[in-house]
């Protein structure tokens, strides 16, 4: 073994200074990375809100789009289409997600539960455009036409893993003693789940649903060839026409879900690439609405959750 230098302490001191400088520099750099991440967020948000806000007016929400190249008009068709499809998606995805989450709660460590968790994660990772291809293959091809229904179904597939994951988390937060107590008192499983566990986890589940809806509202890719787009989609018109021809409720609903429909992000995508200035302005206004909706829903959901957590766990 080589004898230790008698100047070791000098080296140590020099090293110490170097290490301290490295420490300061690198830790400051991590701060810089955070600034670099916040920069685009602020840039995009402020830009979209300012620019989109300039073109925002009432007509946006109550009129169909004007013919190309003429000013004015709105995106009522897209708002209604988004509403219809997200509603359908919620109706399909939320019950399935909640029931699957209850299954995971009742049988947490079985092979089936592991498979469900794996499957959920994989489902969340599938690119949304591929889900769109699936919707096309399964619904559009068999029905032989594009429809709001197909759009709603693919949005449901997008929503499902988001809601399922958060619902499982939230159900797990409920103390197991509550469920066990209900079972011990002789309540059947479903009653314990729906009357005891669900109310206790309700707020968390609602936030999960909000996140799922925020995700579904912003999705474009899966709608490109399932809902396709429809500049004349207006529910009021469909209902009025239906009543005029004495159609039944079912027929009118069938028309609402059976037609191709538009959605806000889909409209944004189409209008952003058109050479008419008015359309691009509409696109910015739509971006404003979408941004406000997505961010608002996200912030509200997370803030509420954080507030509840703090209240529950101190």
């Amino acid at each position: 073994m080589a004898p230790e230098s008698i100047y070791a302490h000098v080296n140590l001191r020099r090293n110490y200074r170097r290490r301290k400088i490295l420490n300061t520099v690198m830790l400051s750099l991590t701060g810089v990375t955070v600034a670099l991440a916040v920069l685009p967020l602020v840039w995009i948000t402020v830009y979209v809100l300012l620019k989109g806000g300039r073109y925002l007016n009432l007509a946006l929400f109550i009129h169909l789009p004007a013919p190309m190249g003429t000013p004015g008009g709105g995106v009522l068709h897209a708002i209604e289409g988004s509403l219809v499809m997200v509603l359908l998606a919620s109706l399909l995805a939320i019950p399935v997600a909640l029931l699957a989450a209850f299954y995971l709660l009742a049988r947490p460590n079985t092979a089936v539960a592991q498979a469900v968790r794996f499957s959920t994660d994989m489902l969340a990772g599938i690119p949304s455009i591929v889900v769109g291809l699936f919707g096309y293959a399964v619904i559009v091809v068999t029905q032989k036409h594009y429809s709001a229904f197909a759009g709603g179904v693919v949005l449901a597939i997008i929503m499902l893993p988001v809601v399922l994951r958060s619902a499982e988390e939230m159900l797990k937060l409920v103390p197991p003693e509550m469920r066990e107590g209900a079972l011990a008192l002789g309540a059947p499983e479903w009653r314990a789940a729906l009357r005891v566990v669900l109310p206790a986890a309700m707020e968390g589940i609602v936030t999960g649903v909000m996140l799922g809806i925020a995700r579904a509202v912003g999705e474009t890719a899966p709608l490109l060839f399932t809902a396709l787009g429809n500049d004349h989609y207006e529910i009021g018109q469909i209902v009025r026409q239906g009543l005029h021809y004495h159609q039944s409720m079912g027929q009118i609903l069938g028309q609402i879900f059976g037609q191709p429909a538009d959605a806000l992000p889909l409209t944004l995508w189409k209008y952003a690439q058109q050479p008419y200035q008015e359309r691009v302005q509409l696109a910015w206004a739509v971006a404003f609405v979408l941004m406000l909706f997505a961010l608002g829903l996200n912030i509200a959901a997370r803030a509420w959750l954080a507030y509840r957590r703090r209240k529950l766990y101190g």
Binding site: T30, Y47, A100, L123, A193, Q273, L295
Partner: protein, 358 residues
């Protein structure tokens, strides 16, 4: 008396396990159906059964679980079946890097390598830029940020993931491309002179800025929150004792991070990176809006191109011939397989190697 004997006792009283097992309750339900009864007591029994038993409940639970389990397989199956025409016509040549790149709907000749290359190169550039940033953010959020700053910063990073991707695309076309990508592209163009490496930088970058570079830079912003959030969770899952031990040995905070925490969480962070890679490959709308959607462009990152997702988004609704549709669905299949493998690997790394161990 006979009626007394034949009466079915409530299922949850029969045995302790009956309430907990779907199969046994289902069996008992079928037993119930087998018994000869009059119609009025039928209704009573069914009502009784559904009021107290869990048959309906467990049927519903099993059905929903079945939906979740079947969905992924069904998607894979549909992609496989619907792409049959293209698979049979082109075979492995379809994705072979050295095959002749043709994309000709008129002649029904398709070859996907340019699109696959576009996906890989944009995702790779995005990763190279995003990973140091994201890991830095994760370190700051889990180790350095004071308590009052932590929640707002977490919010902000997550908001980055919440912005719809079309909004990124719109901002990209009108703000980001002209202001950032065009000047950067011009600055990088001289690199095209270098022999060998030059093929990646052969310019000129279009005046609109539509290019693979633009797509990659937008992707950086979009995958940043994914990698940062997962890495942060990984770092936070590391036991406190590890940090304390390092500090007690005289390490500075940076040395604690660099020599203890990052090695400890390396497989989880690798998982986060792979997850980000999967996101980048699957991202559709923003990329479609800024990449320019043109075949060709060679290997240059300064030229417009396609990614797998963007070629589907751009052409599928207008695909007329069956072969064109099948070829696009086969690209979807490649995309599916790739993201599935990446996500499975990432999940295994994050869940099994890091979070469970910690």
């Amino acid at each position: 008396m006979a009626a007394e004997v034949r009466r079915v006792s409530p299922p949850h009283c029969l045995s302790a396990s009956s309430r907990l097992s779907f199969r046994s309750s289902f069996k008992r339900f079928s037993d119930l159906l087998m018994q000869p009864t009059s119609s009025s007591s039928w209704r009573k029994r069914l009502a009784y059964y559904f009021k107290h038993g869990d048959v309906l409940w467990w049927t519903l639970l099993t059905l929903s679980v079945g939906v979740v389990l079947v969905l992924v397989l069904w998607i894979a199956w549909q992609l496989w079946v619907q792409s049959a025409a293209a698979r049979h016509a082109f075979g492995w040549q379809f994705i072979w890097p050295w095959a002749k790149p043709v994309w000709n709907p008129a002649l029904d000749k398709f070859q996907a390598w340019p699109a696959i290359y576009g996906s890989l190169i944009t995702a790779a550039i995005a990763l190279v830029l995003a990973v140091p940033l994201a890991v830095g953010i994760a370190i700051f959020l889990s180790e350095l940020a004071p308590e009052w700053l932590r929640a707002p910063l977490n919010y902000m990073v997550e908001m980055l993931a919440a912005i719809p991707s079309v909004v990124y695309g719109l901002w990209g076309i009108y703000v980001f491309l002209p202001l950032v990508v065009v000047p950067l592209g011009k600055a990088l163009a001289p690199l095209g002179e270098i022999p060998g490496l030059g093929v990646f930088f052969r310019g000129p970058v279009p005046a609109s800025g539509f290019s693979r570079l633009g797509a990659a830079l937008v992707l950086v912003i979009m995958i940043l929150p994914t990698i940062a959030a997962v890495s942060r969770d990984v770092l936070q899952a590391i036991p406190r004792s590890q940090r304390e031990a390092a500090l007690a040995l005289g390490a500075t905070r940076w040395e604690t991070v660099w020599k203890v925490l990052l090695p400890y969480g390396q497989s989880g962070i690798l998982g986060a990176i792979i997850l980000g890679f999967g996101r980048a490959i699957g991202e559709t709308m923003a990329v479609t809006m800024v990449i320019g959607n043109s075949a060709g462009g060679g290997y240059s990152i300064l030229r417009p191109g396609y990614t797998m997702a963007s070629i589907i988004a751009n052409e599928f609704a207008e695909a007329v011939s069956e072969m064109h549709t099948a070829a696009l669905i086969e690209i979807g299949l490649v995309l599916f397989v790739l993201t599935f493998l990446l996500n499975a690997l990432a999940r295994w790394l994050v869940v099994n190697k890091t979070i469970k161990r910690a």
